[in-house]
């Protein structure tokens, strides 16, 4: 830390929080709140005379409330920077510290928080993790039995810079314990609290046990566990070393800890799985290996940085395998336990990686973005005409659309990843997607349905999944109906209801609305937007009396070639089961309704030209091939 604080290119701002973040990759504007210490950083020399005279003592959060701090104090003697701060909640403003500070005059009770704006190119989030509070687990008696402590509290006791100068003592009487039990998975792998495994605690327990055994060779140590997870390099060997040192491992999760009120000793009751019997063993002290949980302020960080959370509250990576250090927001990266609990080697590796990825942004002159971006026709937007809307902004998974009532939305181009959800959500067709405009897609629909549309199965596929699935069906030679005609969009979110109505208006026999499975969407929540729309369409067509199976919604992955072929064949069977006259009659009956619903599409720029172009293509096609019967 000291090296970092002295590096000419590193600016360490402690006691500072991020209030707001604006902008986009390479061009972020970050507002910082430099909280007031009531002590000038450039004047305080860390002598500590102020703390010595301060009459107020409060629990020290750094020492996990095992030791006190003065109202003016420094969290630990190696703090960087070594500048004292005043805890104004407990300070009585007696000014003894000011007196003691004397000529340095570093203390100023009039100081206020300072707000500054900084320009940054990229952001790395490394906010770490917090510890589970086992008070909620009444069966372990934490908080009631003084000699039941958490692992992190034990670390402070064992630390030579800690409150007991490294002596492990029992809170109840100050004696050194002879028998110690460590209980793993306190709050981890527990559906009542945190279902996930905290990753490092098995090694953590073994490390603590080995340290204690080295410091107190005669100590009797038992570790109660469900499983021992020591996967990385050298870890299994370390586990063996612990066993060789005489540390006892008991497989069996304790269900109960009771206390002898006279001695303060604890009785740990667990089934010893290896013996197949419940045992009750007496200990002088019990250490609970608490779970790693997300920090309490992850929700506000998520909102300030516009990054998402995975289940459990850990920040969400772009892709768990392929891009574990990126967030879906370009220019914001993740490192360490805030992305998911992990040990020190993994955190350090991630830190290096995140720095490298963040460095790419900062060292580049230009940044390549997605060309398939959305744009607004401001003259068609009803928000610009004073009406309330904002549906486009709601659909965007990246927060790329800045929406203000009374104005047309502003699309932050650098943040647009090109799903097209906003374009399709717009009820007034006031938005377009470059390279996938309504006119272009409509021209494709028109051309594909130019001849004998009632025989055609028109399949809308998303680029990343269902198109891949169809492709796999092809290369795998899975046979499916040759009446299928496929059409590609980037995401199922792009599939405007108007496309479906238009397809049926033009006489399509069957239409398939397909995309990724919900958890696979390349644009995170694009599929959700598409799915919601598809459900509405299904209900509408049901109410209109359409033959079931003519409109179908399926989520098909790039690996599901077999499924794609099967779905198309099933749709062909639906068409085969309908006598042709009936099908044509149904198409004709619904035509006007479909036309009415898709009417706004007719007003989209270049629709007419595209339609004419489509007709020409169809004609040229007919001219080249002999007429099929």
């Amino acid at each position: 830390m000291v090296d970092a604080s002295r590096h000419p290119k590193v600016d360490v701002r402690t006691f500072t929080e991020v209030e707001r973040v604006e902008g986009f990759v390479g061009n972020f504007k970050v507002q910082l709140r430099e909280k007031s210490r009531y002590v000038y950083e450039d004047r305080c020399n860390g002598c500590g005379e102020c703390a010595e005279v301060c009459p107020i003592e409060v629990p020290n959060y750094f020492e996990l409330s095992l030791a006190p701090r003065r109202a003016i104090d420094v969290p630990m003697s190696q703090s960087v920077p070594l500048v004292y701060n005043v805890d104004m909640d407990s300070c009585i403003e007696c000014y003894k510290c000011v007196e003691a500070c004397g000529e340095l005059d570093a203390i100023d009770f009039g100081m206020e928080d300072k707000f500054v704006w900084e320009d940054v190119g990229s952001i790395v989030v490394a906010t770490g993790f917090d510890h589970f509070d086992p008070t909620a687990m009444s069966e372990y008696g934490y908080g009631r039995f003084p000699n039941v402590i958490t692992a992190i509290e034990m670390e402070r006791l064992n630390n030579s810079a800690g409150p007991t100068a490294g002596k492990l003592i029992r809170p109840s009487d100050g004696e050194i314990p002879e028998r110690l039990a460590i209980i793993n998975c306190v709050g981890s792998r527990d559906k009542r609290f945190n279902p996930s495994c905290s990753n490092f605690c098995c090694m953590y327990a073994i490390k603590n046990a080995v340290l204690l055994k080295q410091a107190y060779p005669d100590i009797d140590l038992s570790i109660y566990y469900m499983d021992i997870r020591t996967p990385s390099k050298g870890y299994e060997e370390f586990y063996n070393r612990a066993r060789a040192m005489g540390i006892r491992f008991i497989q069996g999760r304790p269900g109960l800890i009771t206390e002898d009120p006279d001695t303060g000793n604890l009785f740990v009751q667990s089934e010893d799985r290896d013996l197949g019997r419940v045992t009750e063993r007496e200990y002088d002290m019990v250490m609970l290996n608490q779970a790693a949980v997300p920090q309490s302020d992850v929700d506000s960080i998520s909102s300030v940085l516009n990054i998402a959370q995975s289940p459990g509250g850990w920040f969400m990576e772009y892709h768990p395998k392929l891009r574990p250090l990126d967030t879906p927001t370009d220019g914001v990266f993740l490192a360490g336990a805030c992305q998911g609990p992990k040990d020190i080697p993994s955190s350090v590796a991630q830190g290096s990686g995140a720095a490298s990825r963040a460095g790419r942004v900062v060292h580049a002159d230009e940044w390549e973005i997605e060309p398939v971006i959305a744009a607004v026709w401001e003259d068609r937007c009803i928000s610009a005409k004073g009406k309330k809307c904002g549906l486009c902004a709601e659909a965007c998974p990246y927060g790329a659309i800045e929406y203000e009532e009374g104005k047309a939305p502003n699309i932050v181009t650098a943040k647009c990843h090109g799903c097209g959800g906003c374009v399709a959500e717009c009820p007034h067709n006031a938005m377009t997607q470059l390279h996938f405009t309504d006119a272009q897609i409509l021209a494709q629909i028109q051309t594909l349905l130019a001849d004998k549309p009632e025989e055609k199965i028109l399949a809308f596929r998303c680029h990343w999944c269902s198109y891949g699935g169809a492709d796999l069906a092809g290369v795998s030679h899975f046979e499916y109906s040759s009446n299928e005609r496929g059409l590609r969009v980037m995401c199922s979110a792009r599939l405007d209801a108007d496309f479906i109505y238009e397809a049926f208006r033009l006489g399509a026999g069957a239409v398939l609305f397909s995309g990724c499975h919900p958890q696979d969407c390349h644009y995170i929540t694009g599929q959700r937007v598409g799915a919601h729309r598809a459900e509405r369409l299904l209900k509408r067509f049901e109410r209109m009396g359409m033959t079931p199976g003519r409109f179908r919604v399926e989520w098909i992955s790039a690996a599901e070639g077999e499924k794609y072929a099967r779905v198309i064949n099933e749709m062909q069977e639906v068409l085969d089961s309908l006598p042709k006259e009936e099908l044509l009659e149904e198409i004709k009956t619904m035509r006007s309704d479909m036309a009415k619903r898709a009417r706004r599409m007719r007003q989209v720029p270049q629709i007419e030209e595209a339609s004419d172009f489509a007709d020409k293509i169809a004609e040229a096609y007919r001219a080249r091939e002999p007429q099929a019967v």
């Binding site: 008696g141 469900m226 089934e271 419940v278």
Partner: protein, 319 residues
């Protein structure tokens, strides 16, 4: 609900199909349930809910039906809130028991029996039983149609709550019949020290040291062991006080921890009412006391007995 008599379903599937039996495959054998269970500790070392779930998962049908775990579980649910996989363990065991009964197995427990001549068909036993073991049925007794209580022996857990509840004394359970308890109330005076009788349920003292402690008291403290404080009839307390015993202490499980689910609810109500009646008769000297001891309260029983004795000494001196 799936047809669980089908032969094509695996044993595990059959258990899962019964409400309460779901999610048993989530068990990762941590052993927490076994360590919380009082039955394993106090009654039957082979009792092991974790092992039973494993037997079900491995389709070991006969072993599961013959396991003591299947029959001894009283669904006190000390295990359920402790299970990190949130499996309703007593529900799984109950499902196995249901299948076992259907397959013709019978409960090995000491169950209650109804004296048909004494039973008045009032139905109080039906209301008091946590296991829905007694039912009112129409039966012909001496040529006359009568309504009587009949107990399903496979559902009865032998707690004795109905024995204590029955106003006619028509239900009995070997070991805790009224006569057997009355005999234990007949113990000699000891010079001038107060005499007290302590009713202790079989489950409220988890620590073996606490149970051993009970036997270490001199003869002026008579300990009567009962399966559940729900077995207590207020008449016993009156009988004790009437025969010259100075105090009655009843020790049961903490609220929510009763081994037979609601025995302590029943007993706390009954003893509460008794104490109110004693007060109305100007006999409310705190000589009948009901205490509920939690599984984590090691050593508390000693302070309760000592405290009661002190109270009685003071009361005797004041007389």
């Amino acid at each position: 609900m799936a047809d669980h008599s089908s032969q094509t379903q695996s044993f595990a599937d059959q258990v899962r199909a019964i409400p309460g039996g779901e999610h048993l495959e989530m068990c990762y054998s941590c052993g927490t349930c076994v360590s919380k269970c009082m039955i394993q500790q106090k009654v039957e070392p082979e009792y092991n809910p974790r092992r039973l779930l494993r037997m079900v998962m491995m389709d070991m049908r006969e072993e599961a039906f013959e396991s003591p775990t299947t029959w001894l579980c009283s669904a006190c649910d000390l295990c359920y809130p402790a299970c990190p996989q949130e499996i309703h363990i007593s529900g799984v065991i109950g499902a196995v028991k249901q299948l076992a009964v259907e397959a013709g197995y019978e409960s090995p427990l000491e169950t209650v029996s109804v004296d048909e001549l004494l039973c008045s068909g009032c139905g109080i036993c039906v209301m008091s039983c946590p296991y829905e073991a007694p039912h009112l049925v129409e039966k012909e007794i001496d040529g006359v149609m009568d309504r009587l209580s009949e107990v399903d022996a496979n559902a009865c857990m032998g707690c004795g709550i109905c024995v204590g509840a029955c106003p006619m004394g028509a239900i009995a359970r070997p070991g805790v019949a009224n006569k057997e308890i009355r005999e234990q109330l007949d113990f000699p005076r000891q010079n001038g020290t107060p005499r007290m009788v302590t009713f202790v349920c079989d489950w409220c003292l988890r620590a073996d040291a606490d149970v051993a402690l009970l036997e270490s008291y001199p003869e002026n403290v008579q300990v009567v062991h009962i399966p559940c404080t729900g077995r207590i009839d207020p008449e016993m307390a009156l009988l004790a006080l009437g025969s010259g015993i100075d105090g009655v202490l009843v020790c049961g499980c903490a609220p929510g921890e009763c081994h037979y689910q609601r025995g302590t609810v029943v007993s706390s109500c009954k003893i509460g009412l008794l104490n109110r009646a004693l007060e109305q008769m100007n006999m409310g000297d705190g000589r009948v006391r009901f205490v509920q001891i939690g599984t984590q309260e090691r050593g508390r029983v000693r302070s309760e007995i000592d405290g009661m004795m002190e109270h009685l000494v003071a009361w005797k001196e004041a007389e």
